[in-house]
Subunit: 279 residues, 2 copies
């Protein structure tokens, strides 16, 4: 199959690599000539161009741009595509993208491969990035069955775990397990920086170890990514943050009132519930 990939970063480059090794013919498009050259040199694509017209021969196109560019990119791409081309994206928020593209292109199906590394760009691309990781597809009632079938086959060939979800259910789910943790973790670092006694702050910095390292990791990550999450998944994230604030207040009240039995019960529930999220 001719598969187009628009946006040759970590996700686009890794997708091209795996699909090419599965026997597909990969057409890559990047805005930068230097990225095009690297993609060819690494073996992520068969043909490459800075011009979207290359994708007129693609049967399926993956849009792998940063999330804010997905809808504008598809608007520019449409004039180049035959009507039966299946278009999908890899954005980490789905409802606004699905709502934006569905009226423009019949053969669209939203997708979210949940894989990544701390690095980005074509140099960070790797083989088998998606293997054993979740890949969510978010078809709607109007998504053509053959578009779903094609994506299902491709996701299967990547070795990913396929999930189907309503776009907004997806967005609420990722707000809990991906976007809320970033804000919770970031607020931890900010709070510590608010310590006004320099002796306490200095000792805290010297003593911090694995507990602080893990809890602060995602909050100390890429600022642009954090803002994107908040901007594009604002409604779901605010809902999660509001529930989190209530949960934090409950904890504070239990400690304030020295209700150790109930605090222990709550910590016990969390201890038992965590393995339902992570093994």
């Amino acid at each position: 199959m001719n598969i187009g990939i628009l946006g040759l970063g970590l996700i686009g480059g890794s997708l091209g690599w795996d699909l090419r090794l599965s026997g597909h013919h990969i057409l890559g498009v990047s805005r930068r000539q230097s990225t095009c050259s690297r993609a060819i040199a690494l073996g992520c694509v068969d043909e490459v161009s800075v011009n979207m017209s290359l994708l007129s021969r693609a049967e399926v196109v993956f849009i792998c741009t940063p999330i804010g560019l997905i809808v504008p990119t598809i608007e520019l791409l449409i004039p180049h595509l035959p009507k039966n081309t299946v278009v999908t994206d890899v954005g980490s928020v789905k409802a606004p993208i699905v709502e934006g593209i569905t009226p423009l292109w019949d053969n669209f199906i939203g997708g979210h491969p949940m894989a990544g590394t701390a690095d980005s760009g074509i140099e960070a691309a790797q083989k088998n990035l998606f293997r054993d990781n979740p890949y969510v597809l978010t078809p709607t009632t109007t998504t053509p069955p053959h578009a779903i079938a094609i994506l299902e086959e491709i996701v299967g060939s990547l070795g990913a775990r396929l999930y189907y979800s309503d776009p907004s259910v997806h967005d609420y789910a990722v707000s809990w397990i991906s976007h809320l943790p970033v804000m919770v973790s970031s607020s931890l670092i900010s709070a510590c920086l608010g310590e006004v006694n320099p002796n306490i702050l200095e000792l805290a910095q010297s003593l911090a170890s694995s507990g602080f390292r893990d809890t602060s990791r995602v909050g100390g990550g890429n600022p642009e990514l954090g803002v994107m999450m908040a901007k594009y998944n604002r409604t779901a994230l605010l809902r999660s943050l509001s529930q989190y604030r209530q949960s934090l207040d409950d904890t504070i009240n239990l400690i304030q009132s020295e209700n150790w039995d109930l605090l222990k019960e709550k910590l016990q529930q969390n201890n038992e519930a965590r393995p339902k999220f992570v093994k």
Copy 2:
């Protein structure tokens, strides 16, 4: 030197092991005969007893019981000790212990080796547990210099990084980097469990990966340990929690008001500040 260890769990057992290998003679005391037998078999102690009177020959005694038992244990131990015996403890909160013991025993110096594993008990004891990890000593103005000197030498022989601190500065510092993260992380798990839409909760559990794993780790840990932190470091922890709640509210307000520039600035500050705590 004859060194006594009262309480043969992860910390007591590991201390005995290292100090014995440094050439000291280790006298171990545990309430349970089965623990005494294991400590001998593993090589953590030279002599062992369920009876505190064994420690009458010790020049230094480490109290390695759970935190709530430290002061009562020392009260029971005192009648067995010559007046010049140096007593120290390994509790993770210092001000209440130092305040409780200073009036009872002149040669006391509080200590906190910051090392551990997810496991506990004598079977979890390991060699070199303290190497390259922080070890805080909390002498007061009345602590005899020779007690400080003896502990300084022992901590050095363990290969630990030695810090001196006022007991309450220590407690505020560990509330930031150890106890607050537990409550922040625990509240994250509780908040997710509050999701009322079963489709969202089920998908969230399926999609959770490294971000959720790290941010929820300490909050899903040992419930007894979490309650102990809150109970014995309540004042400092409530102060940290109050500052954290303010920091969380700031984040929520920035997202609510779509102030992406300020949110990015805050995330950038955290990104730059985190390496001051963890490398």
